[in-house]
């Protein structure tokens, strides 16, 4: 019974998401859009952290790369949203390739420190080059032009309309991550997390594979960044700050590191909680800190992992003599 429920869950979720804007609540639609954007970011990030075991503090830079790339493209070349998203993903992936090539030569702590360094360098660059990037104010005035496909033109200016575009990309991103995780490549990544030396001794060029997953996760970040630019009509330097890179880290842990549903559940939960808590107090981050402590201390598998354990325990009790 649980198994069929678990299998149906993603479709139920998708159906729920598809029906959400019809309820008419503009703010809820906006929140759900932001949830999906964070989820795209986190799902890609978890490929690197949960699956491969590499902790990056610089992924905000790739998010920003996607955001600014789409911004520049939209302001100076073409407002076509799909082309813009393509440019965003490509820019983020390219930057990810370049930064990753330098970072994967180091391991563990030094890898993380290098990603921090490069991420903050991008932040500083974007912040300082105010003539080009608008400095602290960022790029503004990016319009949501209609999606022109052969034969039809789909408007996305209204939040509800844009929501469906994001939903499409969200579904695509989750599907992509799901396939990567289940693939031979994905298995090798898990091996690298567990024992990188042995993976080398199995005949796999570890550094190259690390670079590959790094670039992939950067692409996810860029997709999310580009979509946020379209949502908010702006791109800001804070996207590249290391504290922004901490968000997918947090939500992946909250939902469950190393799982597909974990980052998704974590994103939704995080944004929902933030909305609720911020109505009562401005010290939301204190709550985040406490939640983090709880998770690391007692519920390391996150929401998904803990649920899993409960189900396993219930199943063991049911099948025990």
């Amino acid at each position: 019974m649980w198994k069929s429920l678990a299998r149906a869950l993603p479709f139920l979720l998708l159906a729920a998401l598809a029906l959400l804007p019809l309820a008419g609540e503009r703010f809820v639609t906006y929140l759900a859009t932001r949830m999906m954007l964070l989820a795209i970011f986190a799902v890609g990030y978890d490929l690197l952290l949960g699956q491969t075991g590499l902790l990056s503090f610089g992924h905000g830079a790739f998010y920003a790369a996607g955001a600014y790339a789409l911004g520049f493209f939209s302001l100076h070349v073409s407002q076509h949203p799909l082309l813009g998203v393509l440019v965003a993903v490509a820019a983020a992936a390219l930057l990810g390739l370049a930064v990753g090539a330098l970072c994967v030569r180091s391991s563990e702590v030094y890898f993380s420190m290098l990603t921090l360094a490069f991420g903050m360098m991008v932040y500083a660059l974007v912040w300082n080059a105010s003539d080009v990037t608008g400095g602290d104010d960022g790029l503004v005035g990016i319009m949501r032009a209609p999606l022109s496909l052969p034969g039809l033109s789909l408007p996305i200016a209204r939040d509800a309309q844009f929501y469906y575009l994001v939903l499409l990309f969200f579904a695509a991103a989750v599907l992509a991550a799901w396939r990567i995780r289940r693939s031979p490549f994905g298995l090798v990544l898990t091996g690298m997390r567990e024992n990188a030396t042995r993976v080398a001794f199995a005949g796999v060029p570890v550094r190259r594979y690390r670079l590959a997953v790094f670039t992939m996760s950067a692409a996810f970040a860029g997709l999310s960044g580009g979509l946020e630019t379209l949502l908010e009509s702006s791109a800001r330097p804070s996207m590249a700050h290391w504290t922004h890179s901490a968000e997918p880290m947090l939500v992946s842990l909250l939902g469950g590191l190393g799982t597909l549903s974990g980052p998704i559940v974590g994103s939704f939960l995080f944004i929902a909680l933030r909305e609720i808590v911020q109505r009562f107090t401005e010290h939301w981050m204190l709550g985040v800190g406490i939640i983090l402590l709880l998770i690391i201390g007692a519920f390391r598998g996150g929401v998904v992992g803990t649920l899993h354990q409960l189900v396993e325990r219930r199943r063991a009790r049911e099948t025990a003599p």
Binding site: R179, I180, R182, S183, P184, F185, G186, L187, V188, T190, G191, E194, N195, T197, R198, V199, A200, F201, A202, G203, V204, P205, V206, Y209, A212
Partner: protein
């Protein structure tokens, strides 16, 4: 005498002021099951590390099938066919036993680059992986997490992972350590039959002399980073220098009267 599969010339390695390999010249031939023995600290593991690329070579040359592989990284050597197992269990703890052997099997089949199709579709690699588990007697444990295996089973898995890549040359570093007699016999039989099949040439680092002399076609004795003796088992057993190094104890079938303690 046909050309060696793997040949090392003048291998030298220093750990700070300690010399772990001194001008080593050693060669391994296809189909010849070799054991490398020597007292603790003789440099056996260092030799394997140097030959497999785990340790960078400071001086000397390593050739595989005539090709210079001295500067080749670990994974490249594995692709050529040089593999090893580890003395201390070095597997993937949070993966199942089957997944453990599947990784090298996939790599050997060149399928690890596939990132969009599911692993479940890799039937050929899966068959190889299951065969590897069969060879070490872990077929029934395929679904168990590696960390949940018993101590002896973990060691069996360690060898299984090394076997799964079907290498041309396989170094086994004390493979029977931590095994009970049944597991040991099973493993040795597997090694013997695989060796006879001819696809994999085995080199064992061993302390157990029964294993060494019952299984090996050839024995290499290391002492303080140098090759002390190299030849057929009986020849090595009778060599005076070797006896001196081992104080005549382990090599004898029965203790001599009045032998030194």
């Amino acid at each position: 005498m046909n050309a060696p599969l793997l040949a090392a010339h003048g291998l030298t390695n220093w750990f700070g002021k300690v010399c772990t390999a001194l001008d080593l010249d050693v060669a391994f031939h296809e189909g010849v099951l070799t054991s490398v023995i020597g007292p603790n600290g003789a440099g056996k593991s260092t030799l394997i590390n140097l030959l497999t690329g785990h340790l960078p070579v400071q001086a000397g040359r390593v050739e595989f099938r005539g090709k210079d592989v001295t500067r080749l990284p670990v994974h490249a050597r594995v692709r050529l066919g040089i593999c090893r197992s580890f003395q201390i269990v070095n597997v993937f703890p949070q993966l199942t036993a089957l997944e453990n052997v599947l990784i090298p099997a996939l790599a050997a089949a060149g399928r690890t680059r596939r990132f969009f199709s599911p692993v479940s579709r890799e039937t050929a690699a899966r068959a190889e992986a299951e065969a590897a588990l069969e060879r070490v007697g872990l077929s029934d444990h395929g679904g168990k997490l590696a960390s949940a295996l018993s101590h002896g089973d973990k060691h069996l898995l360690e060898v299984g992972v090394a076997l799964a890549a079907r290498p041309a040359l396989l170094f086994l570093d004390e493979p029977t350590a931590g095994m009970n007699p049944l597991e040991r016999a099973r493993l040795l039989e597997s090694i013997r039959s695989l060796s006879r099949e001819g696809r994999t040439t085995f080199v064992l680092v061993e302390h157990d002399m029964d294993v060494v002399f019952s299984l090996s076609d050839r024995v290499v004795v290391l002492h303080r980073g140098e090759v002390l003796c190299d030849g057929a088992p009986d020849h090595v057993r009778a060599d005076a220098k070797v006896r001196e190094v081992y104080l005549g104890q382990e090599l004898e079938a029965a203790p001599r009267q009045g032998a030194l303690p």
